[in-house]
């Protein structure tokens, strides 16, 4: 019996431990702006999108809340970071914290709206929050610049010494470092007992309630945390591009980040990162061929992905041999 507990304990702990390939992966990621210095801009974008997808994964993959309005928090982070830099202090790190703070606050407020109801209700409410924020950013043009976007954001040097350069190398490192830190924290978070209760809620809400998990407070906390991280991603985007426009609230952004997460795999922290790399490279390739009709290919991809089966598309070894499917998935 005691041996049994220790093996299951070990297997749980093993999942939380860092393996050699992860360390290698992160080392490569951090070296990439130097190795591929001409692609630093896209590396920066990938890191930001990966962070955004990671935050969605916390609520979608680990808690099972289907949200179509995650861009609301992304945009909140972007606008507040940009406004803070423009009006108060151009320091990036403080701006990042401000962006995270406001987005987290918004998330805490909105978490009250997602506790009840069905998937459809949640979809509608999250979508509605995104649209309201977009309307606000559009109408409050004295503050946000309205449809023209918020221009003239000048960022100060990072940590007081690294200026953001045109090639985007500092920006890429900045985003990658933030991504790494958030990733480490998120990893602790989902592997903690708290994370285990989230998965219990995702798998069966009623049973989770029956064994004494206070479902509502868990949902509120995880929604706030996810909103904070999405705010960080938005703040990074605004700071590294020096610009915030209505585009950050667009429905497209919420749908894209969902697609990214689904490409990489839901409920797996590396899913967001892998999805971001594949998605951004794909977008780069396809939109250089047909810039206008890129959404068609995204749409086709989504339809095929769902019809083939999400689990099977990202695990090519299950394509053949139906008999083994139950074992591998």
């Amino acid at each position: 019996m005691s041996q049994n507990t220790s093996t299951s304990q070990n297997s749980l702990l093993a999942r939380a431990r860092w393996t050699w390939w992860e360390v290698l992966l992160w080392a490569l990621a951090l070296a990439s702006p130097l190795l591929l210095s001409s692609h630093a801009l896209i590396i920066n974008e990938i890191a930001i999108v990966a962070l955004f997808a990671l935050s969605l994964d916390l609520i979608l993959g680990f808690t099972g809340i289907v949200s179509l309005g995650h861009a609301a928090f992304f945009g909140m982070g972007a606008y507040s970071a940009a406004l803070f830099a423009k009006l108060v202090l151009p320091d990036p790190l403080v701006g990042l914290l401000v962006g995270m703070g406001t987005a987290g606050l918004l998330g805490a407020l909105c978490s009250a709206t997602i506790l009840r109801g069905t998937d459809l209700t949640r979809l509608m409410v999250t979508l509605g929050v995104g649209l309201i924020l977009m309307e606000l950013a559009n109408k409050l043009d004295w503050l946000t610049g309205g449809a023209d976007g918020l221009q003239g954001v000048v960022m100060g040097p990072l940590l007081g010494q690294f200026e953001f350069d045109l090639s985007g190398r500092v920006a890429a490192w900045y985003s990658l470092m933030v991504l790494l830190i958030v990733f480490v924290i998120a990893r602790r978070f989902v592997n903690s007992p708290f994370g285990a209760t989230l998965k219990a809620i995702r798998d069966n809400r009623l049973r989770a309630m029956a064994i004494g998990i206070s479902v509502n407070s868990r949902l509120a906390v995880v929604y706030t945390v996810a909103a904070t991280l999405a705010g960080a991603a938005g703040a990074l985007l605004a700071q590294t591009t020096g610009f915030a426009s209505l585009d950050v609230f667009e429905f497209h952004r919420s749908a894209d980040v969902m697609l990214i997460l689904v490409i990489g795999g839901v409920g797996w922290l590396y899913g967001g990162v892998a999805g971001a790399i594949v998605f951004k490279l794909m977008q780069d390739a396809i939109s250089s061929i047909t810039p206008q009709y890129w959404t068609f290919w995204i749409g086709l991809f989504l339809v095929v992905l769902v019809l083939v089966g999400r689990e099977r598309l990202i695990r090519p070894w299950t394509w053949f041999g139906k008999g083994k499917k139950g074992g591998t998935v």
Partner: protein, 290 residues
Amino acid sequence: MLTILFDGIAYGMLLFILAVGLAVTMGLMNFINLAHGAFAMVGGYITVLLMQKWGVPFLVCLPLAFMGSALLGAVLERTLYRPLYNKPHLDQVLFSIGLTFMAVATADYCIGSSQQIVQLPEWLKGRTEMGEGAWMLGMGHYRLFIIAVCAALTVGLQYVLTQTRFGSRLRAAVDDQRVAAGLGINVNWVFLGTFAVGSGLAGLGGALGAEVLGLDPSFPLKFMIYFLIVVAVGGTSSITGPLLAALLLGIADVAGKYYIPKLGGFIVYSLMIAILVWKPHGLFVRKGGK
């Protein structure tokens, strides 16, 4: 003021016709279909193209728009939608977003991104005014026409749902799919028929609404939220719920845009969130259903 009320009712009726198919398919199959607006767009484009290219009269276009969208709906239901009925909601959302994106890009590619204009026949263009001052009622003939058509359709739908054999089968399938199948109702056929009619109604709504709502390739995305509001607020168990929700939405939207244009869609969205937080299953829920 009465004019605004009148316009709001016309708008609401139009939204109801556009969304009623969605309400039925959602209630029936528990399928979150974000691509419903695409069928409305197809109906709108059928009308516009037939009128521009071949000079088909407007009134002939309307049934054609209905049939075209219904046919498309039936084909898609049979080939793409059916395997997804038992999948998780995330899959359904992804699938229907993908379908919407494809529809938007396809319309853009084939027809162009510009706004399409419907040439109304002469007898629908005028406007009648009654009363005076604050109580003046100005009725656009076209809006009157929309209200008449939609009211007739609503009565017809209500009749089919409550009085006919198909209606009772449909209600049985909505309440409990398995028991209905066990009683010998061919649920698949009921689903297919309902989906096709729902898509057809959306197409008809798109054709009627092309003049009022505007028609361009981004139509499915722009109005997706409105259809969903009608369904989520109205509930999916009857057609009176969505009808009332659509009227409420139409009047609130027109009045909001007229009196406080600065706020835009703000009122409608806040109202929706407030209602959904208060009553997560919609305003009009029938007891005893699934």
